[in-house]
């Protein structure tokens, strides 16, 4: 099972291909993990994107490839490896948030 901390939404993958999407959020950043059908069950994996939320709604976000966590779409073949990544990312998002707060804010 995947970590349920900071899990804000579990939904059917909105692409309509079947599968499930989980959305995690920490402050203004987060990640989505999508699990889509594979012809070979052994090929089932998690596709993970780091995302940046636009506002307070859950599903309004854009994919973010500019963090140190991920420059592109990540793939995880086991829940264990994904969980480890999620734990790491939570910590990173917290730090990112405090760093961003130190930047000069637009007037």
């Amino acid at each position: 099972m995947l970590i349920e901390n900071n899990l804000v939404l579990t939904r059917s993958d909105p692409s309509g291909m079947g599968g499930t999407q989980l959305i995690y959020r920490v402050k203004n950043y987060g990640l989505t993990a999508v699990n889509r059908p594979q012809e070979e069950i052994s090929q089932i994996h998690w596709e993970v994107e780091i995302i940046k939320f636009k506002d307070n709604t859950i599903s309004s976000f854009e994919v973010c490839h500019t963090t140190e966590l991920a420059k592109n779409t990540l793939k995880f073949y086991t829940d264990k490896s994904l969980n480890e990544f999620i734990e790491k990312s939570f910590q990173y998002f917290e730090e990112l948030d405090s760093l961003e707060k130190m930047l000069p804010q637009d007037p």
Partner: protein, 410 residues
Amino acid sequence: MANVVGSSVCRTAVDEGKPEDWVPGGEKQKIIDPMKMFHELPRELQFITGSEAARESMRRANIDIAIAYPITPQSESMQQAGYLYDEGYIKEYYRAEEEIGTFSAISGASRAGVRSLTATSGPGLMRGMEAISSWPGARTPIIMLNMCRVINTPLAIQPDNIEMSFMLNTGILMLHAENQQDFYDFPLAAICASEQVDVTLPAVVSVDGFFCTHARGPVKVTPEEYKLPPRDGWRSAVPAMDNENPPARISRDAPIQKSNFISYHMHSSWQQEVFAAVERSAKYFRKYLGGLTEIVNPGAEDFIVASGCAVSQAREAVRQEGEQGRKVGLIKLKTIRPFPTEELYEAVKGAKRILIPEFNQAGWLHKEVCSVLYGRTKGVIKNGPRVYGGMTMPTEMILEWLEEFRKEVK
């Protein structure tokens, strides 16, 4: 000789060299009242594929015999059934020659009075259709899992649930699972309903192949040490053909099989009874599934009516509409036979717009809904959106249709 009179039930497992002190998994389980299993037992959340959900369902279903022929995307589930057989949760199991053979054999097994399970997908279902359409008249409780797949040419293995339309008028009980969770719950409920004396009918639980069978989803399962009560072959509208009690005369009297007024009368009253039994099953499904339908946002002006995977897409569309401050209703049809006519009418009687998204070309659900709502509601029923041949139905598609619909019908 392994199978002498009086040998143990799980002889085949013994044949395969299980240790002397081996206890079949099924014998370690405790029997529990179905209502307790469905509504009271604690549940553990697992993240599993639809095929694995089917396996966990079978593990708790006290299946006596499972027979199937492999076909994509059903094969994942039926090889899981093989593992359950090896572990001793299913007592008899074999890979049949093809689907006519499979569905004939499973009807023989059901006639023996044991709980019988099979599974298939689109083309396999069509191949065995003659046998399937003879199950209800023979009053054989059978549980069939159907992982929907394209049946038309050109050949494809993708999800498309048009094959369900071919079963609508056979007298078989039909459930349509939305997701992995339903594919765990529905077979258990279908088994219990189909074996009731005033039902005694086969049941099919369909699910949209791949989308559900080959992807993981959250499933809450009951503890595996509990299983359903076994089938009682004598507690049945038509008793088992076991030569322990007088057989039903459906296959005995020559007049029933020949062309004369007695045979016409027999056949018509028999069919009436089969379809009446389908309706009688509704009360059990209401109990076991907590209703034939699930309704989101009752009283809305816009309503989506859906079954199977289309419900999941519609659910997300409803959520996104909600984020925009618009209330859209959703009615999920869990059973297709019995068709939840009154529940549907009650839910949508005040609706202005009714949208029916489907994963097939024929729009069979649209026709079903129209036929029961005709003349009863003022709402406009929209024929679509529909995707087929394995196409996907993104949430945006439903949202666009809703937007158009609102412009068309003020």
